[in-house]
Amino acid sequence: MENTNNEYIQKILDYLRGSVLLNPADEIPLDRSLLEAGILDSYGIVDLLTFIEGEFGLAIPDEDITKEKMGSIRKMASYIGARRLVSA
């Protein structure tokens, strides 16, 4: 499970680094809100969630877009893992 989550983390990082959403020089924290860290603005967060839905074939319901569930890259990866496990 942890290995799978690491793959999701890597995919998210690859997406962010290859996108126009942040500065290439930015350190991307795994355990902090990207919004609160000033790395992404609200547009960037929506863009990232859209990528996750399109890439991993998930529909993220509104009630899941919370700090507890999606408040960092590591939490996003865990969320993807849990959702994919349920739908497998």
Binding site: L21, N23, P24, D41, S42, G44, E53
Partner: protein, 348 residues
């Protein structure tokens, strides 16, 4: 020397860009997400469900952010005639909407028989905000926005979004429609975006109030309100070409204003925002949006290049600069910062 991508219009000065041997940029070469088709279908279904579920619940079904430009004009027509919505149209007059655009607005809302409100924020506040955005550090803490929007447009759209949300909250309007193109926004439906705006203001309050005064609160903050609003961007689910849109709005009496740059059809300030952006950052603020439209097949590369290079008469630019209280020399001096990359600008 600046080179352009062989497929889109992104230049070599664009942040984080690279080109392959055929001169194609890394953004054009990037594959779509694995389940993109599935996402697109779901997005359209969600859009239609929300429109259906929102009808008739309150006095107005939807608020239309109506700038008077071609995209929001066709969107308003679509809302009334195709979707059958009871609409309140709202125009934020940023002080630079052309006279022709104002005439268009009045004609179109009459033709479509919708209620309409003009709101003009205090000129002193808006001018100060534009200047702080261009010459100061107003937006420096807002992430990597410079790839997709100019300092001036970002500031202006923030006020538009906040004022529209405040209006929707006070009238209890469950949907806000905005004429964003598929190149400007990543998804068609965003729930409770007004909470993001509120959060953004809370996050930047000290910084913004220091630059703009406490008046910033009335234009950029929102009340804490549990009312739910969907922000709807119909052009992401009903993709329309520019030619189609222009054809459709002609029957409403809409006339294209003169002396505007190729990336706007209502705002005389846009050209100044573009000039400042190019001076500061070394690329056109619409290059990314137009490149996305090219990739989606909604615009040809030649059409995009035409938009980016359409010249506005110098006297029209001067008139706008005088109104803004900014000299040409001040804009030229922005260039002394050089065409630095996003990372360099951020580190500076």
């Amino acid at each position: 020397m600046t080179e352009l991508c062989a497929r889109c219009v992104l230049p070599s000065t664009f942040p984080n860009i690279s080109f392959d041997a055929e001169g194609v940029c890394c953004f054009c070469a990037r594959p779509e997400t694995t389940h993109q088709n599935q996402f697109d279908a779901r997005q359209r279904q969600e859009f239609e469900q929300i429109v259906h579920a929102s009808k008739g619940r309150f006095a107005y079904d939807a608020l239309c952010c109506y700038s008077g430009g071609k995209d929001s004009t066709y969107m308003l027509k679509m809302m009334v005639r195709d979707l059958g919505l009871n609409v309140l149209a709202f125009t934020l007059d940023n002080g630079f909407i052309t006279e022709q655009s104002k005439q268009n607005i009045v004609k179109v809302v009459d033709m479509l028989a919708v209620d309409h409100l003009f709101f003009k924020p205090a000129r002193a506040f808006m001018t100060r905000m534009y200047k702080e955005a261009v010459f100061g550090d107003l937006n420096q803490t807002r992430g990597n926005y410079i790839t997709r929007i100019s300092d001036i447009c970002l500031s202006c759209i923030s006020v538009v979004n906040t004022c529209a949300a405040r209006l929707a909250l006070s009238y209890r309007i469950p949907m806000i429609f905005a004429g964003f193109t598929p190149g400007q926004i990543p998804r068609a439906v965003i729930k409770n975006n007004h909470r993001f705006y509120r959060q953004t203001y809370q996050q930047h309050r000290d910084h913004w109030n220091a630059r703009l005064g406490t008046q910033a609160e009335q234009y950029l903050d929102l009340p804490d309100d549990s009312f739910e609003i969907y922000q709807m961007s119909p052009y992401l689910v009903f993709e329309k070409s520019e030619a189609f849109i222009l054809d459709e709005i002609r029957e409403l009496g809409w006339v294209h204003p003169e002396q505007l740059d190729g990336c706007t059809s209502n705002c005389a300030l846009n050209v100044v925002g573009n000039l400042c952006h190019e001076k500061k950052y070394g690329f056109h603020p619409y290059a990314l949006e137009l490149s996305k439209l090219i990739r989606k097949g909604l615009l040809t590369r030649d059409e995009a290049l035409h938009k980016l290079t359409l010249q506005v008469e110098e006297r029209a630019v001067e008139k706008t600069l005088i109104q803004l209280g900014v000299s040409r020399a001040a804009i030229e001096a922005l260039g002394t910062r050089g065409n630095r990359t996003c990372a360099e600008l951020s580190a500076a």
